[in-house]
C-alpha cells in the first residue's frame, strides 16, 4: 500500500476520486435543498442510466462523443495551448458530414467514408485561423478560439436554416439521412449474437462509432507518445523555451497541435450527426462545448485515460437526463458538479493531504533510522 502511495499516478488517482466524491456530495446537498424527495432524485441521477437498456445505450452514445472531444482537448493541452474552440470544429464537422451523406452522388459506403473524411478535415481547417494567429503572431489562442466558436455556431445556423431546412416543419432541421447510410450496430452480425443485436438495435442506437472511438484513442496515444511529433509537442507543453533551444520548430508544433486536435473534434461532429441524430438539427452540440476540457483534465491529458473519464462523465450526463425527466431536479446539476470537480482537481495545493503524509512518514523513518544508527 505504501509503495503504491509513493507512485505519483496512484496519488493523483486518489486525488481525482476525492474530488469526485466531494463534487457528488455537493450535488446531493444541493438536491436536498431543491427537491421534494431528494433521495429518489439523487438515486435517479446516480443509478438512472443503468435502469433500462435504452438508457445504457444513451450513456454509451454520449460517452463516444465525449471520447473524441476529450482526445481533441488532451492533444492541445499537452502542448499547453489553451485552445477551447472544439465546439466550433465539432458543429461545422457535423454539418459538412451531414451534407456529404445527404447529397454526395456516390454509393452509401463511399458516402460514409467521405463523410468521415470531410468531417475531420473540416475540424482541421476550422483550427487553422486560431492556430496561425497563436503560432505566428502570438495572439491569445484563448480569445480567438472562443470567438471562432461563436462564429461557427452562427455560420452553422445560417447554412442550416437557409439551405438545408425542411419545409413545413417548425424546428430548424434538415431531412433525415437515408436508411442506407445509417451506421450499423456495434454488435457484429453473427448468428449466435442475433438476438442480442436485435434487442440492442431496437432499443438503442449504439453504432460502430464505439470502435472508431477506441481506434482514435490508440491513434492519439501513439501520436503523442510514440512519434517524434508527439515528443516535440509534449516538450513544447512542458517547456516552450527549452524546446526552442533544443531545435524544435515551436511555431510549427503549435500550429499542428491545434489543427490536429481538430481532426478528433471533427470526428465528434461526425458521430453526433451520423450516429446520434441522423439529421442536422439546431443545438446539436448543446452543452458539449467545454465537456472536452472537463474530460482532458480528469484524464491528465493522457489519451489512454480519456475513455474512462468519458464513460464517467457520459454516465453522469445520462444520469442527469434521467433525473430531469423523472424527478423535479433540473439536469444542470451535473454542470455544477463538474465545475466543482474541475476546480478541485486543478487545485494543486488542495487535497495534497495524502502526498504530505507519505513524505512526512518517510522523513520520520529516515530520522528514526539515523537515530538508531547514531545510538549503535
Amino acid at each position: 500500500m505504501k509503495a503504491l502511495l509513493k507512485t505519483k499516478g496512484f496519488r493523483e488517482f486518489l486525488r481525482v476520486l476525492l474530488a469526485l466524491a466531494i463534487g457528488l456530495s455537493l450535488g446531493f446537498i444541493i438536491t436536498c435543498f431543491v427537491s421534494k424527495d431528494p433521495l429518489a432524485s439523487y438515486k435517479a441521477f446516480l443509478f438512472g442510466p443503468l435502469s433500462q437498456l435504452n438508457r445504457i445505450g444513451d450513456w454509451l452514445e454520449e460517452s463516444t462523443t465525449l471520447v473524441f472531444l476529450g482526445l481533441a482537448v488532451a492533444i492541445v493541452f499537452s502542448a499547453k495551448q489553451f485552445y477551447i474552440g472544439v465546439e466550433g470544429q465539432m458543429i461545422l464537422a457535423a454539418l459538412v458530414s451531414g451534407v456529404v451523406v445527404l447529397y454526395a452522388p456516390f454509393p452509401p459506403a463511399i458516402r460514409i467514408v467521405l463523410a468521415f473524411a470531410a468531417g475531420s478535415l473540416m475540424g482541421f481547417i476550422w483550427g487553422v485561423v486560431p492556430a496561425y494567429v497563436k503560432a505566428y503572431l502570438n495572439a491569445s489562442e484563448l480569445v480567438s478560439s472562443l470567438m471562432m466558436n461563436t462564429i461557427a455556431l452562427k455560420l452553422f445556423e445560417y447554412l442550416l436554416s437557409t439551405y438545408l431546412q425542411l419545409p413545413k416543419v417548425s424546428g430548424i432541421m434538415s431531412e433525415l439521412f437515408p436508411k442506407e447510410v445509417r451506421l450499423v450496430s456495434f454488435i457484429p452480425n453473427l448468428p449466435f449474437l442475433a438476438e442480442t443485436r436485435a434487442l440492442w438495435e431496437k432499443q438503442t442506437s449504439v453504432t460502430v462509432m464505439v470502435y472508431v472511438a477506441i481506434a482514435a484513442v490508440l491513434v492519439a496515444y501513439l501520436l503523442l507518445y510514440k512519434t517524434p511529433f508527439g515528443y516535440e509537442l509534449r516538450m513544447v507543453g512542458s517547456n516552450n523555451k527549452f524546446a526552442r533551444y533544443g531545435g524544435v520548430n515551436v511555431k510549427r508544433i503549435i500550429m499542428l497541435a491545434i489543427t490536429t486536435s481538430g481532426l478528433f473534434a471533427g470526428l465528434a461532429g461526425v458521430h453526433v450527426a451520423l450516429g446520434i441524430h441522423h439529421r442536422i438539427v439546431l443545438n446539436m452540440s448543446a452543452g458539449l462545448g467545454f465537456e472536452g476540457v472537463n474530460i482532458a483534465i480528469l484524464a491528465f491529458n493522457n489519451p489512454l485515460i480519456v475513455p474512462f473519464a468519458s464513460l464517467l462523465y457520459g454516465y453522469l450526463r445520462a444520469g442527469a437526463d434521467v433525473m430531469e425527466r423523472t424527478t423535479d431536479v433540473s439536469r444542470e446539476l451535473v454542470t455544477i458538479v463538474q465545475a466543482a470537480v474541475l476546480l478541485l482537481i486543478t487545485a494543486e495545493r488542495l487535497l495534497p493531504v495524502i502526498q504530505q503524509r507519505v513524505t512526512t512518514q518517510d522523513d520520520e523513518e529516515h530520522l528514526q533510522e539515523k537515530g538508531e544508527a547514531n545510538v549503535a
Binding site: 444541493i30 431543491v34 489553451f82 477551447i84 485561423v129 486560431p130 494567429v133 503572431l137 502570438n138 495572439a139 491569445s140 484563448l142 480569445v143 480567438s144 472562443l146 470567438m147 471562432m148 461563436t150 462564429i151 452562427k154 455560420l155 445556423e157 445560417y158 436554416s161 437557409t162 467545454f290 476540457v293 472537463n294 483534465i297 433540473s330 444542470e332 446539476l333 451535473v334 454542470t335 455544477i336 463538474q338 465545475a339 466543482a340 474541475l342 476546480l343 486543478t346 487545485a347 494543486e348 495545493r349 488542495l350
Partner: protein
C-alpha cells in the same frame, strides 16, 4: 431597405446612441477585467460573473420590488463568485484559465438550475415582473439638438460605465492602490520585497472585476432587456477581455477597444435591416475581435523588433565611439 438608407441611418443620431447603448455591457466588465489583468490575474470568469449579476438583479428586483436593492445584491453576488476564483487561484494554485472555465460552467449551469428551481422555466424569466433601472435625462445636455439625442436618456448603467472609465484611470494612475496593482502585475517578487501584500492586492483586483462584471450583467437584464435569459452574456465577457488586451491595459485604450466592438455590433444591427441574413451579420463583432487581436499582435511584434534594432544600433555606435572590439 436600400443600402442608401442603411448608410444614412449609420450617420444618424439614433445610431450613435445605439453604439453607446451596446457598449455598456462590454465597458463595465472590461474595466473590471482591466484591474484583474493589471494585477497579473487574468480573469477568465467575467462571462460567468455577468450571468450571476444579471440573474440576481432580475430575481431580487422581482421579489422585493426594489431596483437599488437588486443592484446592490447583484454586485455582492458578483464579488462572491469572483472570490471563489480568487480563493482557488491564490490559495490553492488553480490555473487561472481552467479556474475561470470552471466558474463559467458553474455560472451557466447554476443560473439555469436556480431559474428552473425558482420559477420552473429554463429559457428566460419573462413571466417575472422584474424591474429595470431608470433612464437618465441629463438636465442641460438633453435640450441641445443633436448632442442631447445621442448623450441623454440612457439607462443609469451607461453613465456609470463611462464614469467607471474615469474612475479606473484615476485609481490606476493616481492612487496608492493603483500603483500597487500595477506593481504586483508587473513583478510580484519585487512588489513583495517592497512590502506590498501581493495576495491582498490581487484579492481586491479580482473582487473589483467581479463587482463591475456583475454591473455589466445587470445592464443586460435590467436595462437592455427586462428579464434574464439563459447564457445571456453571449460572449460579452470574453470580448471585454479582448478589449483589455487590445487596449494595452490602459483604461482609455480599453474604452476605445470596447467602443470598436460596440460599433461593429451596431453596424451589424443596421445591416440586419438589409436583406443580409442576420446570422452572418452577427458574426461581424466576433470576426472583428480576431482581426483586431491579430493586428495588435503584429504591431506589438514589429514594435519589439524595432526596439531591439534601436538598442543594437546604439550598442554598435557605442562600440565605434569607444573603439572597443566586439568579442
Amino acid at each position: 431597405m436600400s443600402l442608401e438608407l442603411v448608410i444614412r441611418s449609420i450617420f444618424s443620431t439614433f445610431f450613435l446612441a445605439s453604439v453607446i447603448r451596446i457598449c455598456t455591457p462590454i465597458i463595465l466588465p472590461a474595466m473590471g477585467g482591466l484591474f484583474a489583468t493589471a494585477a497579473g490575474t487574468f480573469n477568465m470568469a467575467l462571462e460567468g460573473i455577468m450571468l450571476w449579476g444579471a440573474f440576481t438583479g432580475v430575481f431580487v428586483s422581482a421579489y422585493t420590488g426594489n431596483v437599488w436593492l437588486a443592484v446592490l445584491c447583484g454586485i455582492l453576488v458578483g464579488i462572491l463568485v469572483s472570490m471563489i476564483l480568487a480563493v482557488f487561484h491564490l490559495e490553492y494554485g488553480v490555473n487561472l484559465v481552467l479556474g475561470g472555465l470552471a466558474i463559467n460552467l458553474f455560472s451557466s449551469g447554476g443560473t439555469v438550475f436556480l431559474m428552473y428551481t425558482l420559477i420552473g422555466e429554463k429559457g428566460n424569466t419573462s413571466i417575472l415582473p422584474s424591474l429595470s433601472v431608470p433612464n437618465v435625462a441629463i438636465p442641460i445636455i438633453k435640450d441641445i439638438p443633436i448632442l442631447g439625442e445621442i448623450l441623454s436618456g440612457h439607462p443609469v448603467f451607461t453613465y456609470l460605465a463611462f464614469f467607471m472609465v474615469f474612475v479606473a484611470y484615476i485609481v490606476m494612475f493616481r492612487t496608492r492602490f493603483g500603483t500597487h496593482v500595477r506593481a504586483v502585475g508587473e513583478n510580484p517578487e519585487a512588489a513583495t520585497t517592497l512590502g506590498i501584500n501581493v495576495k491582498k492586492v490581487r484579492y481586491f483586483a479580482i473582487g473589483i472585476s467581479g463587482a463591475l462584471s456583475a454591473l455589466g450583467g445587470m445592464s443586460l437584464s435590467m436595462a437592455y432587456l427586462q428579464m434574464f435569459q439563459r447564457d445571456m452574456s453571449a460572449g460579452r465577457g470574453w470580448i471585454a477581455l479582448a478589449a483589455v488586451n487590445l487596449g494595452a491595459r490602459h483604461p482609455i485604450g480599453t474604452l476605445a477597444a470596447a467602443m470598436i466592438f460596440g460599433l461593429a455590433d451596431a453596424v451589424a444591427n443596421q445591416l440586419g435591416s438589409l436583406n443580409i441574413p442576420s446570422q452572418l451579420v452577427q458574426i461581424i463583432p466576433y470576426a472583428t475581435t480576431i482581426i483586431a487581436l491579430a493586428v495588435y499582435a503584429v504591431q506589438q511584434k514589429t514594435a519589439a523588433i524595432a526596439r531591439m534594432k534601436k538598442f543594437q544600433e546604439a550598442h554598435f555606435e557605442d562600440i565605434k565611439a569607444h573603439g572597443e572590439t566586439a568579442d
